[in-house]
Amino acid sequence: MSSSIASSSSSSSSSSKKEKKISLKTSDGEVFEVEEPVAMQLEIVRSFFADNEDVTEQTVMPLPNVSTAAMHGILEYCRAHEEFRRRMPEAAPEEEVRAFEAGYVDRKSNEELKEMILAANYLNISKLLDFLTGVAAKRIENKSVEYVRAFFGVENDFTPEEEANLRREYEWAFEGVDED
């Protein structure tokens, strides 16, 4: 599912001198070779390499909290942003960034989205975390209680009476929600 952006940025690297790569190992053991400027968008990686003097180019950094699937999503985003930065250092093409981001999350299910939020949180990529949590908010906006429960995977621990009372008390809050 690699996008045109991700693939073009890797092909472009062949034309310049050999780019430095950083190896990142996900929870399920897959090793990703990531171009340095892309990997450095992951704050946890940046500080790992900044703080440890004994790491070399051969060091494989383990990321036990990130699955391979989430890593693909994270890298797609970071590579696209690196490509934007490289193309137009003087002025970020905002509408293009927005168009990319919209297309990028459109393809993600709720479950994939949450997995990426956890990964972005762990890897400490604040820009991506802000963006993804904003998307999550959009998805539950004006939705029914049942939808929100399912979205977060929260168990309903109210007794039926309690819930009925609560809904009666806050009746107006339950008027006019969107279809799930």
Partner: protein, 480 residues
């Protein structure tokens, strides 16, 4: 518009099987963070999700009320009066029941300013001021002037204030006495000032103000707008697109800017060209988009105005100019003594150019010659139907000693554009990168690319990149 999941993998109704340790159940701080983006009604509704969430909304420091989206299709259900009453009721109830000891991080309100004798808005503002609100974002429709209540002016926690009157300009009475002691950001949109001195005085009186954004505001028949502040870092004044055709924003008043800490400055206007800049020694990034209206002045006057503006901006590192500028810069070529300012610090220049006349391109070359340290040049190509075909004479010089990157946007591959590319490739001795973003619908792209590749280059290595038209998901077509 809500983003709907295309391919939801979680079953919406049942979540109880094998979910002992769901990989993706989100930790509480993240859930709170997600809720901070939501309207207060959504947070309130979430109290029925589970016991743990029951009182989440009571301590939520982000309050957002929007009468337009609080219920879906409200006017199919209720009359407008009922909707307004229900909305007021809801806001009142939340402010009453929330834990008053929790400071409000952000209060966003989008509603109508009710009738003349209705003090609801003032009351809400006094409640949030008492709860140490930090960011206040008001989007209102009002037919009567609005006065900021004193409790807000003296509110020491307020860091950011946004006032936007969506459809109709509204008179806002700014306070005459000092206040807003912590205010850093001020956003004003669609506001009518009876006297532009009010705004100038107001900005000067905010001791720590850093960002000011004034969009589509009317300054009445004032003669000048004077903004002077020692703390101001970012300033945007945009009166380019006045939605009301009967008003012209700055209305030809003189704009005086004296801000020694100003770093970024953006000015868009079609209604004035009288500027005076003082003490802009920290300025790094300037963007000026001025439309010179033929009725407002003579070419000679515009030429002088433009020179004055450029002289005021001579320290900048990033400069963005509209094509209106280049139209009058060519007069400087005829009278070289009239313009001698150099842009020694300028690293990045972005200009909009009408390529159909050489007298738009000549001033661009002139500008390059005045910018000896320029590294990046972005040219937005403007189009008109008809075009004369020109060539840049052989004897024209261009000092592009540091120019590394050239980007042409909306490139259609006409003879004139190719001539400009040929010239830049010939003069750019250290050019590393030439990027072209195609104009939508440009044909024969391969042929154009072949032609560009055949141009002689002075630099030993130029990387060419071609990008598809803007307003699309970016997509790299070729790399040569």
């Amino acid at each position: 518009m809500a983003v709907t999941p295309k391919n939801p993998k979680i079953p919406v109704t049942s979540i109880d099987d094998d979910e002992g340790d769901r990989l993706s159940s989100l930790p509480e701080p993240i859930i709170h963070y997600i809720f901070s983006f939501l309207e207060t009604i959504d947070v309130t509704r979430a109290s029925a999700v589970s016991r743990k969430w029951r009182n989440l909304w009571v301590s939520m420091p982000y309050l957002k009320f929007d009468i337009h989206t609080i219920w879906s299709k409200p006017l199919e259900r209720w009359s407008i009066h009922t909707v307004i009453d229900k909305f007021k009721d809801f806001v009142n109830w939340v402010l009453m029941c929330q834990n008053g000891s929790i400071d409000i991080e952000k209060f966003r309100l989008r509603c109508l300013n009710f009738s003349d004798d209705d003090h609801t808005l003032q009351r809400w503002l006094s409640v949030v001021a008492r709860r140490n609100v930090r960011q206040l974002d008001l989007e209102l429709i009002s037919h009567t002037p609005i006065q900021l209540p004193q409790c807000l002016v003296t509110c020491q926690s307020l860091v950011s204030l946004k006032l936007n009157f969506e459809d109709k300009h509204c008179v806002v009475k700014l306070p005459m006495y000092p206040g807003f002691s912590s205010l850093k950001s001020l956003d004003l949109k669609m506001i009518e000032f009876s006297d532009s001195n009010l705004l100038g005085n107001f900005i000067s009186s905010c001791p720590v103000i850093e960002n000011v954004n004034v969009e589509f505001c009317i300054f009445g028949d004032s003669k000048s707008l004077e903004i002077s502040s020692t703390s101001l870092k970012n300033l945007i004044v945009d009166s380019s697109d006045m939605r009301d055709p009967n008003c012209d924003g700055l209305a030809n008043c003189e704009v005086k800017i004296a801000c020694p800490s100003l770093v970024a400055f953006k000015f868009l206007t079609s209604s004035t060209w009288k500027f005076s800049f003082q003490d802009l020694n920290s300025l790094k990034d300037a963007s000026v988009d001025i439309y010179f209206h033929p009725e407002h002045g003579t070419a000679e006057e515009y030429h002088c105005a433009m020179i004055k503006i450029l002289e005021g901006l001579h320290n900048v590192q990033l400069l963005t100019l509209s094509s209106g500028f280049l139209r009058f810069l060519d007069l400087a070529v005829a009278k070289p003594e009239g313009f001698s300012t150099s842009f020694y610090n300028l690293k990045s220049l972005s200009v909009r150019v009408l390529v159909h006349w050489y007298n738009q391109v000549e001033p661009l070359i002139n500008l390059l010659n005045l910018s000896p340290n320029l590294e990046a040049l972005t040219i937005l190509i403007d189009w008109v139907e008809w075009s004369e075909c020109w060539e840049i004479p052989e004897e024209v010089t261009c000092s592009a000693n540091h120019l590394k990157s050239v980007h042409l946007l909306d490139f259609g591959g006409s003879e004139n554009e190719l001539e400009l590319v040929r010239f830049l490739l010939k003069k750019g001795q250290v050019l590393e990168k030439l990027s072209i973003t195609w104009l939508r619908g440009t044909e024969y792209r391969r042929k154009i690319i072949r032609e560009i590749k055949r141009f002689p280059t002075s630099s030993s290595h130029v990387a060419f990149s071609f990008f598809v038209s803007r307003k699309n998901t970016p997509h790299l077509l070729f790399r040569l």
